[in-house]
Symmetry: T
Subunit: 68 residues, 12 copies
Amino acid sequence: MAETVFKKIQIVGTSPVSFTDAAAKAVAKVAETEKNASWFEVVELRGAIADGKVSQYQVTVNVGCKLE
Amino acid sequence: MAETVFKKIQIVGTSPVSFTDAAAKAVAKVAETEKNASWFEVVELRGAIADGKVSQYQVTVNVGCKLE
Amino acid sequence: MAETVFKKIQIVGTSPVSFTDAAAKAVAKVAETEKNASWFEVVELRGAIADGKVSQYQVTVNVGCKLE
Amino acid sequence: MAETVFKKIQIVGTSPVSFTDAAAKAVAKVAETEKNASWFEVVELRGAIADGKVSQYQVTVNVGCKLE
Amino acid sequence: MAETVFKKIQIVGTSPVSFTDAAAKAVAKVAETEKNASWFEVVELRGAIADGKVSQYQVTVNVGCKLE
Amino acid sequence: MAETVFKKIQIVGTSPVSFTDAAAKAVAKVAETEKNASWFEVVELRGAIADGKVSQYQVTVNVGCKLE
Amino acid sequence: MAETVFKKIQIVGTSPVSFTDAAAKAVAKVAETEKNASWFEVVELRGAIADGKVSQYQVTVNVGCKLE
Amino acid sequence: MAETVFKKIQIVGTSPVSFTDAAAKAVAKVAETEKNASWFEVVELRGAIADGKVSQYQVTVNVGCKLE
Amino acid sequence: MAETVFKKIQIVGTSPVSFTDAAAKAVAKVAETEKNASWFEVVELRGAIADGKVSQYQVTVNVGCKLE
Amino acid sequence: MAETVFKKIQIVGTSPVSFTDAAAKAVAKVAETEKNASWFEVVELRGAIADGKVSQYQVTVNVGCKLE
Amino acid sequence: MAETVFKKIQIVGTSPVSFTDAAAKAVAKVAETEKNASWFEVVELRGAIADGKVSQYQVTVNVGCKLE
Amino acid sequence: MAETVFKKIQIVGTSPVSFTDAAAKAVAKVAETEKNASWFEVVELRGAIADGKVSQYQVTVNVGCKLE
């Protein structure tokens, strides 16, 4: 196993649908600019409320990306 | 930005379907009595098991409500 | 209420679909060998990334099982 | 299992006798006004000292109460 | 020392000036309705940003109030 | 000092009497099957409420057992 | 209220009887040399096991002492 | 509410005056290069001492910035 | 860089004015007896309430002092 | 990626040499009985002291093992 | 002491040898692009297992770098 | 087992070599003045960077010493 080094980037994804979708959105956004994204860790789950209902699920993730 | 003050109420929502649904249930319940609920933070995820399957997802949230 | 004793087993469930499904997979696996599984607590949410998308949701749970 | 919702109330019980008694005092006080109190979680253990001895045990608990 | 019981209320105070002022605002608001507020514990420090500057300091506190 | 290895087992003991008794129950149960149990660490204190009183004290402990 | 300063001393009390007694032992020991001990906070609960039973309850406390 | 994504940047601001000023310095520095900074969370408060006095207040903040 | 060793002393400073002032008071008190105090870390922010207002800000700090 | 499930086992390794060696000892011990051990997470670093020197480094790890 | 500002970068270093070496690898990698790296804080210790032995030590560090 | 009482002293050891060596330095320093040091717990791992390399490993430990 090579002596690789990774960086972790902290990202908040949002979704009107679910926590899972919000995490997926965060990961997809990172992947636009980081081609070596390989894992994520959930740091925080929050959300916004409007008209007495959840209007937005928010998931903060640390995304691990291999450095070259 | 006004010098508003908020209270946080801790609520446990439950659902047979998903963590997201349990959080939504908690928020909806708070909104019945608090008209200014504006955000929530997930504190804990748990669940009950029956007959070898998850029978209930339980999500504890802090709901932030603006005080008047 | 009887003076029952429980053990907690730490399990990581995985799913390509959602955090909820990963937790359900973990619980179902424990139930194959533990007939008295009665509740679970989520310890950690993580995931794997492939081709710029989430390829696997990973949920670590503590499963509480009644000892006889 | 019904899709019940619970609130958690944070209470500090005190006792000159023991941590267990202080927790029991906190729970009994909540029950005076909340008829659906069903479980508690200990958040903090502290105490006061007078004349070189523990004069008061203090236990902070979150009490879970079913909402109707 | 009497076997008093306290409740803790979680409040978020805000201020355009400082963290100290935001905590003071939270405490003053609680005191409008709770005459026995006796101590507070800081839970979280956050803030809002506008035009590249801090526009609001936000302090979440638990306020301890003696129950009668 | 030998290079011994230990495992930790997580157990929840319960008692109608006190936290101390609940911890003792957890340890005694582990000792039925593990003859090398040598120390424990308290992880969580909780309890059940019935008829407005604590009906059960629950203590989660990690029990350290020497492996042979 | 004067602008007093306190130091906190971390002490581990032990007892064959209970967690409450172990905390009391820790406080009493500190009071032998510190005449201004005024409060304590529990940091950790552990214990030793011998012959399949709890042989010693161990409580780590921070004791607050007023400086003159 | 749009499905926006945010990144969090961790910054340490310093000030000879106060914690509030150190946090403000951190935010202002981030804003020089990030035009969409919208909130911050305090992670850590520390400081340096010289000649028996606080010579520098240090505040670590996570600054949330909207990604385009 | 020499292989120096430091001790950390835990101190609670108090002030009627602000958190920053309370931390400064704690550091100044330590410096009366420790000539090598070199940094501090904030551990806890609390306060006392009197007549519906904050009467005292309390800051617990760990002060790092070089040992000779 | 298959929907595999893992269990985590908590083990304390010890070594007179270093933290790294203690962790390696813990992992090697688990591997004697678990053929699918695939990763570990450090939970705690401690040690014993004898004659004024470290006599034993102790590392608690969670070892992740694939279930079949 | 100047009112400098620092950023913290989160990096995971890996090594087949030891935790210390993995941390050193992480720091050296950051220094390739950041000339003002001045301190680091360990956030997490993990590792990979292959053939029943530790094949890789993994250390996550926050590296503090002075901003100009 | 006697009802002994222990104090914990927080010490930061440093080393240009490794985390293990830094912990050993901390323990050895405490032992110069405390003859009953019996165990230690690692609280924090940090380090200094110079010329793009780790110049100093820093380990904060709590050292447990038996009181007479």
